[in-house]
Symmetry: C2
Subunit: 206 residues, 2 copies
DNA sequence: ACATCAATGTACCCACTGTCAACATCTCCG
DNA sequence: CGGAGATGTTGACAGTGGGTACATTGATGT
């Protein structure tokens, strides 16, 4: 009987573990999610966790999808802030905002961002490619096509190109050789990247 | 067989350790670089390694710079393969080849690529930003400016934009949601990305 | 009331890092 | 030559973290 996973002893432990794990992830990234520490914080012995998760990987995977959702929400918030009405300009602005939100989230929540993309055995690649942030980006690109800023042919692969660009910048700024870049420079570089991508995709069009 | 310089105890052990470590890194990535295993493979007791490296991190850092060099060489090899003579076309081709070499290296040597960019305590960010692959890219972009394909103003931040794009694609294909993408799709996506970046940078120019 | 099973706890094993101490070699220099 | 100093060895140990075996507690259904 599925029913409502009733709290037997603790009061739904699974959610509590994910919660504590997410907090650890926020502060210390993927490696900070230590099963024993998660259990400790939840006031439970480390073995209790194994009743709810096959292994650490499964817990991490759950936290990852939670983080992914938060990223998506951050992007959505910024999309909702776009006031432009002219279709083409609006779609372009949305593309930039999407990218900006992505990098912004990575920088403001480095731990969660890292967890969202740390590879786990439990999740399969394909399922993630058609969920959350990726879909949002896809919608924005579709609007660009509708607005005539991108040709249908040019739409092909545009999603991955955009994604790669902002993801790459995030990673370089976070763990890569570009970490420690002054905020002002980060801003400039982000602008340049967004402009370049927009220009690259819409180049030959109006 | 070796018969070469066999100085006193082992012959320069430091280099041998880095070598063995690099091999482990190639196969199993950063986590595969286990100090004791490295020592074992070098035919040396685990404690000997600590005579040459303060800790595992320092060894890893050394392997990282080695990996970085290999990446640079892979890029250089592809650059040398460009036969185009017209300055502008040549510079553009070089830009594409640089990017292609980057992603290609990441896919063919995932372990080394991961090690090259795994953050260690010992290396400082700034020193890496002005070394190896980055400089190579800078030269290519300078040639684009000289050839008139990019305005001097447009050159600003172009290096980071290019880098972010190819790095992001590499990461997404390697550990990210795009892992498992069929080779043919990878190729298509890479082409799209390179074209987009080139178009984005040279957009308004001849 | 009692069997059952989910939920939890105690006590392990294993792998890896990092230390320490004592000892064995090899190189070089006075 | 003989000692200083760097290099390598052996073996042990503490700490951390993942994972498992087995026993125990407690809610539930009949």
């Amino acid at each position: 009987m599925p029913a409502t996973t009733k709290p037997y002893h603790h009061g739904n432990l699974r959610a509590a573990l994910v919660d504590a794990g997410a907090e650890l992830a926020r502060v210390n990234g993927p490696d900070g999610v230590v099963l024993r520490e998660v259990a400790r914080r939840t006031g439970v012995s480390h073995n209790a966790a194994y009743r709810h998760f096959a292994d650490r990987d499964e817990l991490l995977s759950e936290i990852a999808s939670l983080a992914s959702t938060q990223l998506e929400q951050a992007m959505q918030r910024r999309l909702d802030g776009v006031r432009e009405t002219d279709p083409a300009r609006r779609a372009r602005a949305q593309l930039r905002e999407t990218g900006r939100a992505y990098v912004e989230f990575a920088l403001s929540e480095p731990g969660l961002f890292a967890v969202a993309f740390c590879p786990t055995e439990t999740d399969d690649p394909t399922s993630m490619a058609d969920a959350g942030p990726y879909l949002l980006l896809g919608q924005v690109l579709d609007e660009l096509v509708e607005a005539g800023a991108i040709s249908p042919a040019g739409r092909e692969g545009a999603d991955v190109a955009c994604w790669a660009a902002v993801h790459g910048l995030s990673v370089l700024l976070l763990d890569g050789p570009l970490r420690g870049l002054p905020p002002a420079d980060r801003e400039a570089v982000l602008d340049k990247l967004l402009v370049t991508i927009e220009q690259g995709l819409t180049g030959s069009m109006g």
